[in-house]
Symmetry: C3
Subunit: 340 residues, 3 copies
């Protein structure tokens, strides 16, 4: 299984500079690539490796200014790389359709065709597993929940009752969908629980990483909009609405009833307060704490988060307080002298 550079360039709609007959048998990271391997350059931090790599060829951006024996210029080098990666290292085989003997499936559950249900999977009353869905070992689908067509639920996932996963949804291991929202009221006698009776809707083409927790709504649903991609260990509170095509990176938490627009990027370890709005296309830098609405298209940073430029200036300013103190001391001295 090998391809010539000419074939690869065609495959990714790229412009080859170099030897079109050279053959490639595998992909590799630029810092480790050897002859016969193709790599890519996207992050400028790795540009230095162009000089030392032994890669057969490198995917680069159209305006790349460096030099290498074989280059393929493309719009998006990472995406081009991704395509040949898919070619040289095809996806591990997905399970053959079939239902494990050790699965526990309620009589009233509705099962589509060509589904895979792994060992010890538990599917409760009136749950619906649509065509070609895959549910791997030791996962749980509660009463009345739905797993959409061609969805892929990895091992040890828990989906509580009355949650709706749409088509082509991927859920990684250990994730919990539909646990109770955090709703309590302090009373004179102690703490009273607010019933959590809404559900969770995960729209099509969503991917949710490992060990996330997506709480059900109090009334109404928690919603993850279509095409959004969540990393690992993320908390989504009750009645949160996340728009479509959002990136939400690891260990971020979004508090109850907050609304996140479309195309939003939230980096890792961010905290978002409850009952606020994050506008379409907004970006939230890593580890920020967002305490109020974020305007569409803006980038916010730090804690409490504010417009990124201002936050960066604040940080620079902090690091110069000592200098400022010295200056003030100097002025004080001068004034003393003038008075004296």
């Amino acid at each position: 299984m090998s391809l010539t550079l000419e074939e690869i360039a065609q495959k990714v709609d790229g412009k080859l500079e170099g030897d079109g007959s050279a053959t490639v048998k595998d992909v590799a990271e630029i810092q480790n690539a050897e002859e016969g391997e193709i790599s890519f350059l996207e992050n400028p931090k790795y540009a230095k490796y162009v000089e030392t790599t032994n890669a057969e060829a490198i995917f680069v951006k159209k305006d790349f200014e460096g030099d290498y024996k074989n280059l393929i210029r493309v719009e998006n080098p990472e995406l081009a790389f991704s395509k040949v990666l898919e070619y040289f290292r095809p996806s591990p085989p997905i399970p053959e359709p079939g239902i494990s003997e050790s699965a526990s499936i309620a009589d009233s559950a509705i099962l589509g065709v060509d589904i895979y249900i792994g060992p010890n999977v538990v599917i409760q009353d009136e749950a619906v597993i649509e065509n070609k869905a895959i549910i791997k070992a030791n996962s749980f689908v509660g009463r009345g929940s739905r797993v959409g067509a061609e969805s892929f639920i990895n091992s040890n996932v828990s989906v509580y009752n009355d949650c709706k996963l749409s088509e082509n949804v991927t859920i990684h291991s250990g994730t919990v969908i539909g646990s109770d929202g955090y709703g309590y009221s302090r009373t004179a006698e102690g703490i009273e629980k607010i019933p959590q009776r809404g559900g969770v809707i995960v729209e099509r083409d969503v991917e949710i990483g490992a060990n996330c927790t997506i709480d059900r709504g109090t009334i109404g649903d928690t919603v993850i909009g279509h095409g959004s991609k969540l990393d690992n260990l993320i908390q989504v509170g009750h009645n949160v609405k996340i728009g479509s095509y959002c990136f939400i990176v690891s260990q971020t938490g979004i508090s109850g009833s907050t609304s996140v627009g479309d195309g939003v990027t939230i980096a890792g370890q961010v905290g978002v307060a409850g009952h606020i709005d994050i506008g379409d296309g907004a970006q939230i830098a890593a580890k920020s704490g967002v305490t109020k609405d974020v305007e569409p298209g803006t980038t916010v940073f730090w804690y409490p988060a504010r417009e990124q430029k201002k936050a960066r200036r604040d940080i620079v300013n902090i690091r110069r307080i000592s200098q400022l103190k010295d200056k003030v001391k100097e002025l004080e001295q001068k004034i003393k002298e003038m008075k004296g």
Copy 2:
């Protein structure tokens, strides 16, 4: 299943202003409520919806000053709402008592009456499952551990050996109780593990969210006090003692041997250092990092956390450093001129 406003007012011990014969069939959030639905107003951010909602009636605080066709004044609108929510949307049926054939239960385990043990649940030697306890699919209860009466363990929970869960404890999916505390000692040869031989005690009426980790003590126990409520993805280190009726919000971590008093509120993504004391009734604002003792009844904020008012002033001050620099430059200029 419908109620008149008069019946509802009576149910929640409220004062009705409006048409007592109007009927309500369901609950809804104020921004979406339609005729025949009742809503509530607690968070002032939602007061604007009083003008646009179609709710049949709204629960409001006793001193609410706005106007609406049907109001029910109560001490705690959220709690009143919670009561009618419970009425209109009753809890999903809890599993009928019974023990799944696919459960693995050690001969020496002691089982109470009217318990539910779901598919693939594993209960090891000498564990005790008390009356009316519910343990859902694929959960694990280790040797010598106890699940108290009327407790509810959701799917895919792991309880290690020698942990004691008291009455009416709820544990959500994916949570791990009793994993080893993080205790090691660096030596000349590498790293030596400190054995973790204590246990975990979860007192009555505690609720622990999804994918939390509650470590066992080194010697002595880690304790979660009665009535405390933990959200999701929370880390509780070895030998931590949490008092009663605490709120601990998502993604918070409490380091080993720290003591948290009664009635404490710890907001989301807070980190608390080890070996410190958080006094009764203290409040820790979201994303704070607490590095030293917190006095009872005080509120702390930011990182490193300090008394909230001071932290807020610090943040305001940071945002005005540029201004201060300008002022200093101006004075410098003036001095130059005076000298010149």
Copy 3:
């Protein structure tokens, strides 16, 4: 089962001061210790308990200056304590070798001798379980993965396909090894997933806490170096390389392609950016956000993290801005007066 202080002193290679014939039957924390129990003093915060404890004896550092009826001076009091803890409270029995009837083991899996495979464990095609490995209930080992000799996998763990766990590796419950790295590319049409085809290598003597997520590499592997110890709820991104004998504390996240040297300590709730290098022996204080390379042997703190001394000075400076403002106001007043 009791020991004289003389026997204990010998066991831990310590210098006894006091009554060598006194007997000890158990261990206890210094603040709770009673007669017949031995304790230790390492953290100076606990020195005050030397006056109030009833411990039979205390392990102290060689240069301890206080006074107590029976002291055993040692290099490392915690480690000495750990040894007698192991003696008085031996490890709970590990499971007898055997394979549960309810385990699902692929025909092509390769099983060593003296292994324990608990109930409902699923082991897929071509996985290798080496001698004396223990895999507890409801865990999953994917196709082609390896669990090394004498490794201990707790309940409800998920190991995806093609991950290699070396000898004597411990994985706590709920942890996920080998889920997809977070790799996507925004395109005009939405979001394209970058295939994640690398693996995870966990070297010998590694311990990973509960509910962690260790992502597989895109190409190439994510590596946890030998002897490193991870706490709970930790995220390790794709292609991260962690060196040997590192401490990584709870709720920390390390972004993709970052390299962590040997002997590094990363405290709790730290975030580390992607594509950076943390040098050997570096220390990262709790809750820090590391955005750029960290030099070997240095300690960094705060967010954005910088050299600890500088960060601490920054924090002190912030808390004195009000004072500085007052001073500037005073100078302004003086200048006014001088001009006037």
